[in-house]
Amino acid sequence: MKAKILDLFLNGLFLTCSFAAAAIIATIAITIKVNEARSNLEIVIPVTVEKNEISVLSLQSGVVQNVTVSVGQSVEEGDILVEADNPQLRARIETLEQFTNNLSAQTEARVGIIQLENLTSTAPKNGTINNVFVNAGHPIEEGTALVTMLTHDNSRLLAEFTTEEYLLAKKAGTVRAYHSRLYQFFEIRPTEVRPDVSDAQPGSDSDEKKIGLYYEFVNPEDASAMIHNEDLEITLYDTDTITYKPIKYIVNFWDKVLSLGKRALPININK
């Protein structure tokens, strides 16, 4: 009797293993097929980072003594960018300070001292130096552009779509853009359409006018990891051309399953 039960158990085990093996092979096959179907439906569009460019203007006339930053350098708010000097101002202050009893002279001297401080230009925000217009010995006036900076805030992304792609993107709303340099996804949401619809670039293979759509980072701190003019990728799914529904559900299901492995990770700012 015991032998019979053991036989039954072993037979059942063989049966289950055969079924499991067949199921595994079938699952692998269907996964490959589904991925292929998905990739046929995928449209990958590059989206370009545009950082905000601000000019740092000189507040005081003088002569540049020292430029402490170079193009591409990242600076923090308050970092010294350009040091200038104005010897005439210094002399004048010295002279004015001698009139210790004259109130207007003292006031003027104090104004002058503040003006001296303005000879040191600092970074108004965190950012990256994009252009440097002066070097040592360069005379500057009040309002002269010293450097331009790309700041992290107000960064936006620009994607160019064909009309059909634009409709898909509009429907998709907030999407995840893949950054190949950082191997991560970042969430971006569409903001506004580019006002002027640009003509097709010369040399592009279609005469279609492209619609430009601006995106912003859902998490503004993401922008600080970006480099100006970098490309990320967004993937749109052309699920409308699928003629029968089951594929749509399967595609969406597998999309969610596989995205578990590619979730956006918190960004490490320390570079």
């Binding site: 072993l10 055969s18 067949a22 589904v34």
Partner: protein, 499 residues
């Protein structure tokens, strides 16, 4: 003096026509399939080619055997004297051996009784390798001799058993019957006269099965029919008929000359015959049913039997390849070779079963799919000729025949590896029991796995269909294959449970 013309019986015109058409359709298909331009995925193409080569070789062998035998002019036919006068004058002495290994007593009893009651005077011996007290008692009750070899003499399974029994026999000739094959009354008097020709050392009569109500038994029985109706008689013309293990008579002096029955764990029958042929002896196949036997009814016994036969074929092929055996005529070499390579069909079947699955699951095909009509045009005539040849030969084709033939692929492949790896073979008779009842899934797990995979593959295959026509045709194949194997499993399990 009456001469017995043991030529093959005339065959119908439609069979003759199909035999003549066969090479044309095969060639027509071959020019398509062997042209690499038509190939699809390279790895699959290689397997397709190998399988097709095996299949074409099998068909070619069958075709050559039957056709050349048909075309032989009369004076090449073997005319052997076959007179009862010789029998009465010479009065040759005969021993009859029945090999028993734990078959059910009812079957053994029936065989012993029929063997004892054959009309020509003889001595009957029961060779019991199962050491069964019941068998001993039965032998005593039926008044036949009982021999059971002692434990220390055991070895080489049936061959060893017979060799031990021969020591006790005194006849000039001996007959061997399996425990489940019962001879008819006239067996001895019909077959002994052939020994008038001194060179004749073996006379073999066909295996015939009576338990055809069982699915597996009827399937394997019909599969054997081609062999006994057409192939073995044709081999007979070339003096290449070989022993099939039961229902035959040997000349004792010839067997002694080759050192006794060839001692080997399996298929000693064909090995003994080839050694007799080497010495120039003749074998005779007399195509008259003179014994009634039982075909395997259960999955385990059927697959074990097929494994045994396949090991016989492969062992001969690899260790004593008939092409290189001296002293055989060219016809004999070819005929033995054809019989040996029959078991490579296991690989071909395996490939044919697998390729459509691969297409449904992974979308890759061995042939290029650009012009499916081209493939169909080349394949369909070949398919009709090849797959319906048994139908033309036998007049009918049963589901059980196809199922059991396909299902044997696992046994053949298993036998191949066993032979190549030189494993020691544990011989168990067709209906005998082992100490522990065999686990059925161990035998049919490939088939069960295949049937599961078939159904899943059909589901996967129709997801996002790229090529509707090819997928439809492939689905049809897969469904057919699954149906055949499922029938085999189902009926086999029913028989197994009916125990």
């Amino acid at each position: 003096m009456m001469k017995k013309n043991i030529a093959t019986k005339p065959i119908s015109n439609i069979l003759l026509l199909s035999i003549l058409i066969a090479p044309m359709t095969i060639l027509f298909y071959a020019v398509y399939i062997f042209n690499p331009i038509n190939s699809g995925n390279t790895y699959l193409y290689v397997f397709q080619i190998l399988a097709d080569i095996i299949a074409m070789t099998q068909i070619g062998a069958l075709w050559i055997t039957i056709l050349l035998d048909l075309l032989q002019s009369d004076h090449h036919r073997r005319d052997l004297p076959h007179t009862l006068d010789w029998l009465k004058k010479k009065k040759p002495t005969v021993d009859v051996f029945i090999t028993v290994t734990n078959e059910p007593l009812s079957i053994v009893s029936h065989t012993i009784t029929k063997a004892r009651d054959m009309d020509y005077p003889h001595d009957t011996y029961v060779l019991d390798d199962g050491d069964s007290q019941e068998t001993k008692a039965l032998a005593k009750k039926l008044k036949v001799n009982y021999i059971s070899r002692p434990q220390k003499a055991k070895g080489y399974a049936k061959a060893g058993n017979i060799t031990y029994g021969l020591k006790h026999g005194k006849g000039e000739f001996f007959a061997i019957f399996d425990a489940d094959h019962a001879p008819r009354k006239s067996f001895l008097s019909e077959l002994l006269p052939f020994f008038e020709t001194k060179k004749v050392a073996l006379v073999q009569s066909p295996q015939h099965y009576t338990n055809l109500q069982n699915f597996i038994a009827s399937g394997t029985s019909q599969a054997q029919e081609i062999f006994y109706k057409y192939v073995q008689p044709a081999k007979n013309s070339y003096n290449a008929a070989f022993c099939v293990g039961t229902n035959m008579l040997y000349r004792k002096s010839s067997v002694d000359e080759i050192g006794g029955i060839h001692l080997i764990d399996h298929s000693e029958d064909i090995w003994t015959t080839i050694r007799l042929h080497e010495l120039g002896y003749e074998s005779v196949f007399y195509n008259k049913i003179l014994a009634d036997g039982r075909a395997p009814e259960k999955i385990t016994s059927y697959l074990r039997q097929q494994n045994r036969w396949a090991q016989g074929g492969f062992s001969l092929f690899f260790t004593k390849n008939p092409l290189f055996v001296p002293n055989l005529t060219a016809d004999q070499k070819l005929q033995y070779l054809f019989s040996n390579i029959h078991y490579f069909s296991g690989f071909a079947i395996c490939v044919y079963l697998t390729l459509p699955l691969i297409y449904l699951l992974f979308g890759i095909h061995s042939m290029s799919l650009e012009k499916p009509v081209q493939w169909m045009v080349h394949f369909i005539p070949y398919f009709i000729t090849v797959y319906f040849l048994p139908l033309f030969l036998l007049g009918t084709l049963k589901l059980s025949t196809i199922s059991t033939s396909i299902a044997s692929f696992s046994s053949y492949i298993e036998a191949f590896w066993a032979t190549v790896m030189r494993q020691k073979h544990k011989w168990v008779s067709t209906e005998g029991t082992v100490a522990r009842k065999p686990l059925i899934m161990k035998y049919i797990w490939p088939h069960v796995f295949y049937v599961f995979l078939c159904f899943m593959a059909i589901l996967v295959g129709w997801y996002n269909v790229q090529d509707i026509h090819t997928t439809a045709i492939t689905t049809f194949w897969v469904f057919l294959n699954a149906y055949f194997l499922f029938s085999f499993i189902r009926h086999g399990l029913i028989a197994e449970v009916k125990n």
